[in-house]
């Protein structure tokens, strides 16, 4: 036997071994499933053995509530000062005194804010950006959403600086102390970002009541992780020579951090700031359920009353706000990344900050004018217009003319796809799932991963949430699958043609900044409530990473390798299948991973349109303020996400290591 033959045999053996192992494992699970009359405890988790984790959590929360109310009250009191100021300034007017002596100081004039937004956009990215940002604000004003939008903006404007400062300090701490990062910060960040947004609301509601403050705290917790990550990443990416330089210049530890490392990391930090803003907007919308008010509350009210027209209008205002904030903060981040352009240092404030001075002057002038001319204070009714009837008519028209088609599509989907998969998932033996996932964990990442994955799966079962967990897995799985089925081919086309990429990129950029709430509205207009709506909204929300990572992964394949393939006489098809795809696969899998996580986040929000899964569990807990139930269900959702994420990451890491 030659040497090459023996090595290749030695290399292929483990793969075959794993095939056998998997075949055996599947056979065992099938046997358990078939023997479910004999072994009922292995299929459905016995009700008698449920661990009452939910009750424990409830008890803990009420203990905290009763013993630390002084703390939560003082936090509320402190935080409400800046928050009230921002809300009054932008939306509510200042009211000083009571009753007859009440003096009302007006809020900022809408005209002034629109012009200010325009100036900010122009300063950051030229006339085009100015027109876009100013236009978005004007749109909000003209469509009669001004007060709600300003409430939302006020909350964001207080929550975001808070997130940035906290994230910066936590990130610095994690960067300084690797043990803290490994043991504390990283797991906490993972958990914070995979726990569904709803689940945050429950403890906040319990501790801080139904108020903008609790909405703000929930927002701050949800939106801080990207800043922490950006700080850690930015600091670790500073070239080691710059680090050496700061030592050689004789910097003390503090000088080094604040004057060398953080400024050098500024481009990465600004990316973090952009993410914080977008997450905060997303969360503020959802936090309308616990008293944030604003645009989210309008959507929520309209959806509950099934007023699709109003919901759509408020939703579009959210879209406008999201686009304005995103483009503005991205442009600012880009300016920072490119560094400054030389400006003569000038002593006067006006010369140094012409745009800021102008904006302040205009805001002051228009607000003062508002005292005399009502049109400046509030958007006059005469110039606003509403599109709600239009949307309503459109929906009615579609419903009347296409009811049969839509209904047939919906029913066919439910009968042929959703229900069978659902039945399969819900009937899946829990012990079998623990076993198979553990096995996958062992194959991909060794004993530790296997233990983690199995433990998290067991948690879902022993808390008595197995059936709902599987209902979530089913809907999330189908949605993610369809999202990949749509997204990967689009990504493929985008990677092959610059023209397609040019069309696709702005679309997915916009899809990505939209708060998850907005996806439900148009779908619910057509498909009413139910699993189909949830699925379609989730697919629309989760398709972005599948497209983006596929495109990116394929475009990243070094051109030299493609040339090498061509020179060796590969056809286009062979080049793609044998060279491009294997090299891009880790990146594509990363996209799939992201798609699954996004689908999971979205599925939970879809509880609002009547799904029956863990999301519904959280939703019910929220309405009953049952913290234990909500938190446990939230953890179960987070654990699904963590299991999927860890398995995919381990797999990707393995594939990467093989490619070198």
């Amino acid at each position: 036997m030659t040497v090459t033959a023996s090595t290749s045999e030695a290399r292929s053996r483990p793969v075959q071994l794993w095939l056998v192992v998997w075949a055996c494992a599947l056979a065992v699970v099938l046997a358990v499933f078939l023997l479910q009359d004999r072994l009922p405890w292995a299929v459905n988790y016995p009700a008698g053995a449920i661990v009452p984790v939910a009750d424990w959590v409830s008890a803990l929360m009420s203990l905290i509530k009763s013993n630390f109310s002084w703390l939560t009250r003082s936090i509320t009191a402190v935080l409400s000062v800046p928050l009230d100021f921002a809300l009054n300034l932008l939306a509510k007017n200042f009211k000083i005194g009571r009753g007859a002596d009440m003096v009302v100081l007006p809020r900022l004039s809408w005209v002034g804010v629109c012009i200010g937004a325009f100036l900010a956009g122009r300063a950051a990215g030229g006339w085009k950006l100015g027109a876009l940002v100013g236009g978005c604000f004007l749109y909000i004003a003209l469509f009669g959403q001004w007060t709600s939008a300003m409430l939302t903006l006020g909350l964001i404007s207080i929550a975001v600086p808070f997130c940035i400062v906290t994230g910066l300090f936590v990130g610095i701490w994690a960067w300084r102390k690797p043990w803290a990062e490994r043991l504390l910060i990283s797991p906490a960040l993972d958990l914070m970002q995979t726990i569904p947004t709803f689940a945050y609301l429950i403890p906040m509601l319990l501790l801080f009541g139904n108020s903008p403050v609790s909405a703000m705290i929930a927002t701050a917790i949800f939106a801080t992780p990207p800043m922490v990550r950006a700080t850690m990443l930015g600091l670790s990416r500073v070239p080691s020579e710059i680090d050496d330089f700061s030592e050689m210049a004789g910097c003390t530890a503090r000088q080094k951090l604040w004057r060398v490392l953080l400024p050098s990391a500024r481009p990465t930090l600004m990316v973090g700031v952009n993410q914080v803003i977008m997450l905060a907007l997303n969360m503020v919308i959802i936090a309308s359920m616990i008293g944030a008010g604003g645009l989210g509350y309008d959507v929520l009210l309209a959806l509950r009353a099934l007023k699709v027209g109003e919901a759509m209008e408020a939703g579009l205002a959210i879209v406008a706000l999201a686009i304005a904030l995103d483009r503005l903060s991205q442009a600012i981040a880009r300016n920072h990344a490119q560094g400054h352009v030389y400006q003569e240092v000038s002593p006067s404030f006006w010369r140094r900050y012409p745009n800021l001075t102008l904006a302040i002057a205009i805001l002051a002038a228009t607000t003062l004018l508002g005292l005399f001319v009502p049109a400046f204070a509030a958007v006059p009714k005469a110039i606003t217009f509403t599109t709600a009837p239009l949307w309503k008519t459109a929906v009615s028209w579609i419903t009347i003319n296409f009811f049969d088609t839509i209904e047939a599509f919906r029913v066919a989907l439910i009968l042929n796809v959703l229900n069978p998969v659902r039945a399969f998932c819900e009937g899946f033996p829990w012990l079998g799932a623990v076993f198979l996932l553990g096995l996958a964990g062992y194959q991909l990442g060794g004993l530790r991963l296997a233990a983690l994955v199995a433990a998290l799966t067991v948690f879902c079962a022993v808390t008595g949430l197995w059936e709902k967990t599987m209902a979530t897995v089913y809907l999330c799985g189908i949605s993610a699958f369809i999202a990949c089925l749509i997204g990967i081919p689009i990504g493929l086309m985008a990677s092959r043609s610059d023209r397609v990429e040019k069309i696709v990129t702005p679309v997915i950029d916009t899809l990505q900044v939209l708060p998850s709430f907005c996806f439900i509205i148009p779908v619910v207009m057509l498909f009413r409530v139910g699993d189909v709506t949830a699925m379609i909204a989730t697919v629309a929300f989760a398709v972005v990473p599948a497209i983006r990572y596929t495109n990116h992964g394929l475009r990243q394949v070094p051109p030299a390798l493609i040339e090498a393939a061509k020179v060796s006489g590969c056809t286009k098809r062979q080049t793609f299948l044998r060279v491009q795809l294997p090299l891009a696969l880790p990146e594509i899998m990363l996209g799939v991973n992201q798609t699954i996580l996004m689908a999971l986040a979205m599925i939970i929000i879809c509880a609002m349109v009547g799904t029956r899964d863990l999301g519904q569990e959280v939703f019910i807990a929220l309405s009953k303020a049952d913290s234990g139930r909500g938190i446990v269900a939230g953890l179960a959702i987070a654990f699904i996400g963590i299991v999927a994420d860890r398995l995919f990451n381990a797999w990707t890491a393995k594939a990467r290591a093989r490619l070198g």
Binding site: E241, E247, M248, A249, G250, S264, Q338
Partner: protein, 361 residues
Amino acid sequence: MADTTEQVPHAAGMPNDARPIKLACRNVWKLFGANAANFIRQRNGKASMADVAAAGLVGAVRAVDLEIRQGEIFIIMGLSGSGKSTLVRCMSRLVEPTHGKVEFEGKDLLKISDGALIELRRHRMGMVFQNFALLPHLNVLENIAFPLGIQGQDRPTREKRAREVIELVGLRGREHFYPRELSGGQQQRVGIARSLATKPEIWFLDEPFSALDPLIRREMQDELMRLQTMLHKTIVFITHDFDEAIRLADRIAIMKDGEVIQIGTPEELVVNPATDYVAEFTRDVDRAKVISARSLMRACDGTEHGGAVAPDAKISSFSASIVSAGKPFAVVNGTGKPIGEVTPQAVIDLLAGIERPGAGA
């Protein structure tokens, strides 16, 4: 020049150098791996490469002994992975050596407090980096003034000094440019200016010209020589380019696998390479530019001389005239007394690369 630190007679690489020792490494080790400090202490600072490997350690710097004299350009030459960057970082304590002593003017640098180290770095050491290490958020003026700001100097003082060094490195008119707006050569001029702003006594240059194009590199080497004739710093210069080392060095230390395998003037390395490895480097060197009359001379045998040269004169400086004269040249010392002679034949042999027993050194 405002920057002149010490006036030292420029006696390049002479044996029995009388200048004081500025910086010395005494049996310096840097080992990576578990328990490296114990390993080397138990062996009293002695270990072979095989010992190190057997203990599962990686020896980045091994048993380095060297002395750098005031006003000298000392070059550490080695290929990538030879440990030269780690060694220079041990000298400035950016990397903590595992074993040994680093003496700065006779004081052990490894024993001084953090505060004293910061003081030392602020006022007496300067460093230039391969990839410039300029701060991207500051302009040229602010970058150069940065180390002074760290010391606590006020803005007018530090900007005045920054403008002086900007003038010195020929960057006038670029004060308000940002690093990304400058070419590589200009960026390194900023790096050089920044390291000179604090008037350091010892100047570490870590492959300063390796990231530059060959033409710019040559220009910057000339620039460095120009600065050195004015400033007389003690320079520790890292490079992987032997030609660059020969062009600039008073003395060269050649490193391989973490060890210094030979220290000497360019001429000593070319004439007496310690190992085949060194000989390999010196093979393609233009010998006429390195070897001096002293190495090529023989005792006078009474023939008439066509001219006279100093013992330190490089062969290339008189090769054309000696060959056209066709007569030996006398080698005369400072008092004008002949100490030997160089024959045209020896020069021709050297230029043609012919080895003749008995000729030359």
